[in-house]
């Protein structure tokens, strides 16, 4: 009965709020998805943080610093949204540290040149926006509202990333090479960000019925590719996919086969930076323990 009412609400496009009844599966799916999203924001600070101290102009440094700070802020909203489902930030953090919770695999690739800051903004934030725009209509209220706020900032980041790429693609010979190399390295991992094909994605079923997800992985991936190819052409960069071709009938691009072995390898821990990213996060957490303890002890003294 409760479940029917719940589904009726979903079908009528009403939002589910924290105190409303919800099936256990809905709750656990959301916790998994939102925390994965939050962890991605936080781990994603590392590959970009890697270049803050080496940003090549005052303006570039300000933009990058502000961007990484926005990401930390997104992480905070998302952790808060997740907490409304009855799980604490400490638990979420420990799931991350134990490897039980995932984050976007794209952040397990190294950032090797300044052009990577462009590629991450343009492609990674670009892919994230495609996903997040559709999630603004997700059925869970706090998540949906968080997405509306986050989308505004992400589209800003995406434009800034594209600006870096565009400047470098039109810059010196070395800059152009860096830009193309960054695109070569980040293209495939970016389109993998949408996850496995719908036919191989075991969790898509209920997520669509419950309107947590509003579009399937393949639909989102296609949206992203269709809007990004023209952007690459405009600045004279070549997408590293020989099979990429406009399909008149579908009004979309056909593209080559994704290397799913690499995808699953990185998801399961075997990517170039998996260990480094997680160890970095664990170390920061452990190094800060005495600080958190002191703050707690001080607060307790004030209350006693």
């Amino acid at each position: 009965m409760q479940e029917q009412l719940f589904q009726k609400k979903i079908d009528a496009e009403q939002k589910i709020e924290p105190k409303d009844w919800m099936p256990d599966g809905y709750r656990s799916h959301l916790i998994r998805q939102i925390s994965q999203h939050a962890h991605s924001e936080i781990i994603g600070m590392q590959p970009e943080g890697n270049w803050i101290t080496r940003a090549p102009s005052l303006r570039a440094k300000m933009i990058l610093l502000a961007k990484v700070q926005d990401e930390a802020g997104h992480g905070l909203y998302l952790y808060s949204a997740c907490e409304t489902l009855g799980i604490s930030r400490d638990e979420l953090n420990s799931q991350l540290h134990q490897g039980k919770a995932k984050y976007s695999s794209i952040f397990n690739y190294p950032t090797l040149s300044w052009a990577d800051m462009g590629a991450i903004g343009w492609l990674v934030d670009g892919a994230a926006i495609v996903n997040q725009v559709s999630l603004q209509k997700t059925s869970y209220g706090p998540y949906s509202r968080g997405m509306v706020k986050i989308c505004k900032e992400e589209s800003f980041h995406q434009r800034q990333g594209y600006e870096i790429m565009s400047e470098m693609a039109n810059g010196t010979k070395e800059q152009k090479e860096m830009a193309q190399d960054a695109l070569n390295r980040f293209w495939w991992p970016s389109i993998m960000m949408f996850g496995p094909h719908d036919s191989d994605s075991p969790r898509t079923g209920n997520a669509m019925k419950w309107k947590i997800k509003r579009k399937t992985n393949d639909e989102l991936r296609q949206d992203f590719i269709d809007k990004t190819v023209a952007q690459a052409e405009l600045i004279g960069l070549k997408i590293p996919d020989p099979d990429l071709k406009w399909n008149e009938e579908r009004s979309s691009y056909d593209f080559g086969e994704i290397n799913w072995d690499e995808f699953w390898g990185v998801v399961n821990g075997n990517g170039p930076c998996n260990e480094q990213r997680l160890n970095h996060h664990i170390k920061a957490h452990e190094d800060g323990e005495w600080v958190r303890k002191a703050a707690k002890a001080y607060a307790e003294k004030q209350n006693s």
């Binding site: 936080i42 600070m45 590392q46 943080g49 803050i52 101290t53 080496r54 940003a55 090549p56 102009s57 005052l58 303006r59 570039a60 440094k61 300000m62 610093l65 502000a66 990484v68 700070q69 930390a72 802020g73 992480g75 905070l76 952790y79 300044w114 400047e167 810059g171 010196t172 070395e174 800059q175 970095h280 996060h281 170390k283 920061a284 190094d287 800060g288 323990e289 005495w290 600080v291 958190r292 303890k293 002191a294 703050a295 707690k296 002890a297 001080y298 003294k301």
Partner: protein, 248 residues
């Protein structure tokens, strides 16, 4: 370089190098909230540096703000040495920040009265920011000083170690005297009394012991630095130096 250009570079470099150091904290903070706070302070200081460098560049007419930041060598930088010291643990960073935040607050309050309108306006804008920074750092000094025994020991040690870098705040060399006389600059010596008072107020609340004024580091007004500045610059300046023809 004219006197006023050099005078402004001292403040600009101090904010720039401190910002650079603070930005190293990104993704390493003791909590997500602190990560955001430290980046925020870093960003404010970078904004201050940018405003000041734009002004020097305008006065100079030839060198761009980016060239000032990315193309000068150690001996041409005039930031206080306190900005260069390594971040250390969170308590080290907080003490460094606390000691300089009080200085910034008092300094900008005076600089606001400068007859140079641009400097005065930049001081007003910065003052709002450093007041917030000071609230943040003082609160942490108190929490860590009066938190656990471990945090108290740690931060007392940070305070003792960093104290010797505070002497530079109050020096007056020929240039300072000249700028003061022209009603452009600040009398640094007179800041010391209020600085002492504000430091003491927080240290008392934090139950920390104020170190004695002993040996003090000096030299930044002449472009003398710790060995750490060279490493900061080689990281910060690497791209514009490696690709001098590139625009970013």
């Amino acid at each position: 370089m004219t006197d006023i250009e050099k005078y402004i570079l001292r403040i600009a470099d101090t904010t720039l190098i401190l910002s650079q150091r603070l930005s190293e904290w990104c993704s390493k903070g003791p909590s997500l909230e602190e990560d955001i706070a430290l980046s925020n302070i870093s960003l404010d200081l970078l904004g201050q540096a940018n405003g000041l460098l734009e002004y020097v560049s305008k006065l100079n007419g030839e060198i761009s703000p980016d060239e000032y930041a990315f193309k000068r060598d150690e001996r041409e930088f005039y930031n206080f040495q306190i900005c260069e010291i390594e971040n250390g643990h969170f308590g080290d960073t907080i003490i460094r920040q606390f000691l300089i935040d009080i200085y910034f607050k008092l300094y900008y309050q005076e600089l606001e009265k400068s007859k140079d309108e641009t400097l005065s306006a930049l001081a007003t804008k910065s003052l709002k920011e450093v007041s917030y920074h000071l609230r943040h750092s003082s609160n942490w000094v108190i929490r860590l000083g009066d938190g656990t025994q471990e945090s108290k020991d740690k931060i007392q040690k940070s305070l003792n170690n960093i104290w010797k870098y505070t002497g530079e705040f109050f020096e007056m060399d020929e240039l300072d005297k000249k700028m003061l006389k022209e009603k452009i600059g600040v009398n640094n010596k007179t800041l010391k009394k209020d600085w002492d008072k504000l430091v003491d107020e927080t240290l008392i609340k934090a139950k920390l012991k104020r170190p004695e004024d002993g040996y003090m580091m000096t030299g930044s007004r002449k472009g003398i630095h710790t060995e750490m500045l060279g490493k900061i610059l080689s990281e910060m300046q690497y791209l514009p130096r490696a690709y001098p023809d590139a625009k970013w």
